[in-house]
């Protein structure tokens, strides 16, 4: 489903990762780990098609469901309206399933502006469900979720991969997903990036 070969990723003109190689087939979850600023987000943006790689190749489905740091919610619209909007854009399944998955039924008629950070995140994750896309690309999906909701997320993810989907996830914390493959990105770190060496490199 997803094949990444010899990929180099840059941010702000500075190459962060190079030679990234991995592949992912249907039913698999890939968890990307790595320190802050290593280039996890940039890598995910490349996969989602929001950023061009410096070099290398990505073979991915034409549309992927992407979840970034911002949830893309409209505060003036209710929870249900937000979900229904994305469902209609993706022509995905009805929002009811997504409301079930993240226990959002009680909040369905609340304006998104009145939600807490964790509730907003749950709504953002529920959006992945209504996209109907096979590949989920998620950047720190569990930020501001409590333990119960992380469990809801884990269950939703398990259902997604059981039905033939796949997911690429970056995270700091251990998600405790037994079936997930772990990939530490530290070994793909571009050389000459520690400290002020970027400046030294420019002088050379």
């Amino acid at each position: 489903m997803l094949q990444v070969s010899n990929l180099s990723v840059a941010r702000g003109g500075m190459t962060l990762l190079c030679g990234v190689d991995f592949s992912l087939s249907a039913g698999q979850i890939l968890v990307l780990r790595g320190a802050n600023g290593l280039g996890k987000t940039s890598l995910l943006r490349c996969i989602a098609g929001l950023q061009n790689p410096v070099e290398g190749q990505i073979i991915a489905p034409e549309t992927v469901a992407y979840s970034g740091h911002a949830d893309g919610l409209k505060g003036q619209m209710t929870v249900l309206e937000n979900l229904a909007f994305w469902a209609s854009i993706y022509r995905g399944p009805s929002p009811d399933v997504a409301l079930d998955a993240y226990d959002l039924h009680a909040l369905a008629d609340r304006p998104a502006a009145n939600l807490s950070a964790g509730q907003k995140r749950r709504l953002g994750l529920a959006r992945m469900q209504v996209s109907g896309c096979a590949l989920w690309v998620m950047d720190e999906p569990t930020v501001s979720l409590d333990a119960d909701n992380v469990a809801l997320f884990r269950a939703a993810l398990a259902r997604h991969v059981q039905s033939g989907g796949a997911a690429v996830i970056t995270t700091h914390i251990d998600l405790e997903i037994a079936s997930a493959q772990l990939l530490d990105l530290t070994r793909f770190k571009a050389r000459g990036l520690s400290g002020s060496s970027a400046f030294a490199e420019a002088l050379e």
Binding site: A48, G49, L50, Q51, N52, E62, T63, V64, A65, Y66, G68, H69, A70, D71, G72, L73, K74, G75, Q76, M77, F85, W86, S88, I89, Y90, R91, R127, S131
Partner: protein
């Protein structure tokens, strides 16, 4: 695309959407003109077509940076870019929604406000028609400018500098049509040229703006 169009209209009508802001600005500008130029009715009737067109144009300018700006800030535009919807469709939906919530209300309000400037009702009808035909170009060009300045911090001023020169043809032919109608002359050529600008913008700018959105989001 239709859903995005209705969502944008819904958002602009709801609280904090800024619907009516352009109308109120237009109203204030038109009310201030007699204070600035004096109460000479003949003089006011003479400048009315130009002033009303200019007022509508500036009112239109007010809300341009919101077309893409709000969606860019809260991450919606990133998500739309990864969705099956092409950027050209995003542009068309947003420009159309902007016109319906800004251009159309301005057009309908203009003949009423024309009374304040001693504009005859018959001429007011031509003013309304010229605005209905001309303001789509303002929304289309404005949304194109907004897609170019996406991501520029405080790009509002840059957007105005980019867009205002492109508004000149619409302003010339729009005000010309109303002036000719006021003098009892044939004004249809000016209206045809005005429509041509709007149609030309609708034909070309979706592709230009789609390319700008692709570059700015990558």
């Amino acid at each position: 695309m239709i859903q995005l169009f209705w969502r944008d209209i819904g958002l602009s009508v709801r609280s904090g959407g800024g619907f009516g802001l352009a109308l109120i600005f237009f109203l204030i500008v038109v009310i201030l003109i007699p204070f600035a130029l004096g109460p000479d009715q003949a003089a006011l009737a003479k400048v009315a077509p130009g002033v009303l067109w200019l007022g509508a144009l500036l009112a239109c300018l007010l809300s341009l940076d919101r077309i893409f700006g709000l969606d860019f800030e809260d991450g919606t535009l990133d998500l739309l870019a990864t969705s099956p919807l092409p950027p050209e469709a995003v542009y068309i939906a947003k420009a159309a929604a902007h016109w319906l919530t800004t251009g159309l209300p301005l057009s309908l309000a203009a003949p009423v406000l024309g009374v304040l400037l001693n504009l005859e009702f018959e001429t007011g009808k031509v003013l309304c028609l010229s605005l209905v035909l001309g303001t789509p170009a303002l929304s289309l060009i404005g949304a194109f400018g907004a897609s170019l300045t996406l991501g520029v911090k405080r790009g509002g001023l840059l957007l105005s500098l980019l867009v205002l020169p492109l508004y000149v043809p619409s302003l010339i032919f729009g005000a010309q049509a109303v002036r000719l109608a006021g003098q009892g002359l044939a004004y249809d050529v000016a209206l045809v040229l005005l429509s041509a600008i709007s149609l030309g913008a609708a034909a070309i700018l979706p592709f230009a703006s789609g390319a700008a959105l692709r570059i700015n989001l990558r």
